[in-house]
């Protein structure tokens, strides 16, 4: 393309991005993304009360207004992916504007939560955090509080249980373990290594990370968690939930209106980027030079008019077999974006129209693994449609082979599994789990995991308030 397009909004500057069939200059594009986010932040009264600067008026006194401003603390989980960085960037702009317009006042304060897994990730994330605070957030640094949490705190609970899936009946049972039983506390690392595929690993990690972040929000008494999910990411999640038998959870996952039922109803979740496509967020990263802060991801350049040639950074394509379900959903959306560009927004809009399913279980209960509400009895459903009895032995050869099997290693290893199962049957109690977690359990070794009995206690043990060393001082 040799023709120089000009921005359709300001009609002056040269266009650098084409998004939704419209050419934008960099300034207009950033404004476009930013406004989409701000619109969501003002979506209802609850969030307006959080983000707006409050003043004395007919109903509130000056003290109450002050108190509202001070209590408007939001938690921003930062993964250093493109979406959460762009979201923080826009939030920071809002803060800077408020400081200027309201002469030193802000309507809210941000606390950043970085949840890491493993020492290498800890270092990379902390380096980026330091860089970010000393450059882009320098002016507003005093308004932030930063927390760094190790995902291992997930197991910081007084009691642990052993959870076991019986593969013939799909019944999940638990046994209490005592500290002297195994000698050491279970770790995330050990647990993840027991997964037989990447999907189960990703799901478990996700369950643990979400629990840590949400529990942190409960214990820290935040008003809301601001998730960086882009529209594309939400579409992935919706499709992946359906594929994982977790469609019942879509309604709660997308709910920005009610308090989080699964976590004590003390905060609300907000997805301020739900109207912005990932490709747009990625273009934003390129335009506003956020690349150096991004961790383990290279933002796409699909929307940029002039592509950056030096970035031969595209990750090598994975074999389908090695991909996780979320990755497959993402790949699907990537592939059809050209032909059916509205599919992503259709999926998110459809997801938002879903309600929580009707309850068919007698008593209200939660999944013992992921804490989500249970609406149906998964094991019973599976038992109904799967027969696991055998056809009787007929010939003499059948009987002969059967006795060989009984005495073989295979028979014995099955026996071991059955022994384990029967131990759980005798000593264990049934643990209600959702259908999705049933599938995860089926994909770990021995269908057996260690899990905390109750939600993790994050604040009690590890709360590492991160102090940034000032470069200048």
């Amino acid at each position: 393309m040799t023709e120089v397009q000009s921005c359709k909004r300001c009609r002056i500057e040269k266009a650098v991005v084409v998004s939704r069939k419209e050419p934008f200059c960099s300034e207009c594009f950033c404004k476009f993304v930013s406004l989409k986010q701000r619109k969501q932040m003002m979506s209802d009264q609850y969030f307006q009360d959080i983000f707006k600067v409050m003043y004395q008026d007919k109903v509130k006194t000056a003290e109450i207004a002050e108190k509202m401003n001070a209590e408007s603390r939001v938690l921003v989980p930062l993964s250093f992916g493109s979406s959460s960085l762009v979201m923080l960037n826009v939030l920071n702009d809002v803060l800077e504007e408020q400081l200027e317009v309201h002469r030193g006042k802000t309507g809210f304060s941000i606390e950043i939560l970085v949840c890491y897994f493993g020492a290498a990730q800890e270092k990379s994330l902390k380096d980026r955090l330091r860089a970010l605070m000393n450059t882009r957030l320098l002016k507003t640094k005093k308004l932030y509080k930063i927390h760094v949490v190790d995902i291992e705190t997930f197991f910081n609970s007084s009691k642990h249980i052993q959870v076991h899936l019986e593969d013939t009946s799909y019944i999940v049972r638990k046994i209490n373990t005592f500290s002297n039983d195994t000698g050491s506390q279970p770790t995330v690392d050990v647990l993840l290594n027991r997964c037989v595929n990447r999907s189960a690993r990703e799901d478990l990690l996700n369950v643990m990370r979400t629990a840590v972040i949400k529990q942190f929000a409960v214990q820290g008494q935040y008003k809301a968690i601001l998730w960086g999910h882009s529209m594309t990411r939400l579409a992935d999640e919706i499709m992946a939930s359906v594929v994982k038998g977790r469609a019942a959870q879509i309604a709660s996952a997308l709910d920005n209106e009610s308090f989080d039922v699964e976590f004590d109803e003390s905060f609300k979740n907000l997805h301020p980027m739900r109207d912005v496509l990932l490709s747009e967020i990625d273009a934003f990263c390129h335009i506003s030079n956020l690349l150096p802060y991004i961790y383990e991801y290279y933002p796409q350049q699909t929307l940029l008019i002039e592509k950056n040639s030096e970035s031969g950074h595209s990750p090598s394509p994975k074999m389908v077999r090695n991909m996780t379900i979320n990755e497959l959903a993402r790949q699907y959306f990537d592939n059809i974006e050209g032909n059916y560009s509205n599919v992503i927004s259709t999926v998110v809009r459809t997801g938002a129209k879903l309600d929580r399913p009707l309850n068919t279980v007698p008593t209200a209960s939660r999944c013992g693994i992921c804490y989500t509400m249970l609406y149906r009895n998964g094991p019973e459903w599976l038992r109904h449609i799967t027969v696991t009895s055998s056809y009787p032995l007929v010939t003499e050869e059948d009987h002969h082979l059967y006795s060989t099997w009984i005495n073989s290693e295979h028979g014995k290893s099955r026996e071991h599994y059955l022994e384990l199962a029967s131990e759980f049957k005798v000593n264990g109690k049934e643990l209600a789990t959702c259908y999705g977690c049933l599938l995860i359990l089926g994909e770990v070794k021995d269908k057996n995991i260690s899990w905390p009995e109750s939600k993790p206690d994050i604040l009690k043990d590890v709360i590492e308030d991160f102090v940034i060393d000032d470069d200048e001082e």
Binding site: M239, R321, K353, P357, L401
Partner: protein, 373 residues
């Protein structure tokens, strides 16, 4: 080299213990069930497959004693296995139903005529009565003519709408109030995904219903294979040596459905159980109650700027009928009549005697297949 005695072809003695069926542990496993990855032998496979279908039928109370049931038979694997299995289970468990084969002749030369031949053989093999209803007699169009007129891209839209009606009309003609179809778990999962990808809210909640019935229609439909994997149906047909027709329809499937199918295939490679997982999801999809729109009172009529007025919209009324043909319809005129009208307008005014050019791609394929040097 030592001499090895010739193997007895009837008795493969060297069955390794690791190769044994995971259910009976006594026979060689031949099949890996996609549902739970169990390796099972042929006999156990027949046992579990048949029992599962039986359980589905019984727990959903699909049949009533003395009922006449039409099997939508296309000659393909699903409907052939369905006809075979219903007959078998009916005799084994005394459902007390009367089974009739009901086929639709869409008029696709080189495809449907061949598959109908299969159905006719099935009729003899299973000793079941057969009724064939054709698009030609119902609508005065064949699919080949429709494609010639409206193009190949929309073929599935026409065919789907017409077939739905044709099955009902065929059943009504025979005095049957229950049509069973061979829709399997794969079809159902694909539909769930499609409805979400297309945002088809109207179909979202009902897409996994095993039985559909409208208060306005005497004919109900059910899908006993709702939980049966396509793979297992094929294996069942294969090991039972059933006679079925295995060519896909030559008119291209809908392009968008193709992308969903591709996605399903990839997902299945990663987690074979995903098909029933998706159905589980589909069963728990429920829509939020519709928000009441802020609308003027019903007695008011809005006059638009161009002078047109908006007629009061009638909501969906179950049992509403088409003004032209009397078939069930949520609108004034049913979809089939609407499509027919469009076709009629474009029908060629003149035709060449004994013209065969409308015969579609299927005919050509068949002809090419028969060519030899």
């Amino acid at each position: 080299m030592s001499h090895t005695p010739p193997l007895d072809p009837k008795k493969p003695k060297n069955v390794k213990v690791s190769q044994l069926c995971e259910l009976c542990h006594a026979r060689k496993a031949l099949i890996k069930r996609p549902k739970n990855l169990q390796k099972v032998c042929k006999l156990c496979f027949f046992h579990v497959f048949e029992t599962e279908i039986h359980n589905t039928i019984v727990s959903n109370k699909l049949f009533v004693e003395g009922e006449k049931v039409a099997v939508g038979a296309s000659g393909g694997k699903d409907s052939t296995v369905l006809a075979y299995l219903l007959k078998l289970l009916n005799e084994r468990h005394n459902y007390g139903i009367h089974i009739v084969l009901l086929s639709i002749d869409e008029g696709i030369v080189g495809y449907r005529d061949d598959s109908l031949a299969t159905v006719k053989r099935n009729k003899e093999q299973y000793n079941l009565p057969l009724e064939i209803v054709s698009y030609r007699e119902l609508y005065d169009w064949t699919m080949d003519e429709i494609v010639a007129c409206a193009g190949v891209r929309n073929s599935c839209t026409y065919c789907g709408v017409f077939r739905r009606q044709a099955l009902d009309r065929g059943a009504a003609k025979l005095g049957i109030k229950h049509v069973v179809t061979g829709h399997n778990a794969d079809d159902m999962a694909e539909t769930v995904l499609m409805n979400i990808l297309r945002g088809d809210v109207a179909r979202l909640e009902k897409s996994t219903a095993i039985m559909t019935q409208s208060s306005g229609s005497p004919i109900k439909r059910s899908k006993p294979f709702k939980y049966a994997y396509q793979k297992e149906i094929v294996l069942y047909a294969h090991y039972k040596k059933l006679d079925y027709f295995s060519t896909e329809c030559t008119y291209a499937p809908e392009a968008f459905r193709g992308t969903a199918r591709e996605l399903m295939k990839n997902l299945e490679a990663v987690r074979p159980s995903c098909i029933i997982d998706i159905i589980h999801s589909g069963e728990s999809l429920r829509l939020l109650p519709k928000k009441a729109k802020r609308a003027p009172p019903t007695s008011h009529v809005e006059v638009r700027s161009d002078g047109s007025i908006s007629l009061p919209r009638q909501g969906f009324v179950d049992g509403n009928r088409c003004e032209r043909c009397g078939y069930l319809s949520s609108n004034k005129i049913c979809k089939a009549c609407m499509l027919l009208e469009g076709l009629q307008q474009n029908r060629a005014k003149m035709a060449i005697d004994s013209d065969v050019s409308v015969h579609g791609a299927a005919k050509l394929t068949r002809t090419l297949e028969k060519l030899t040097f």
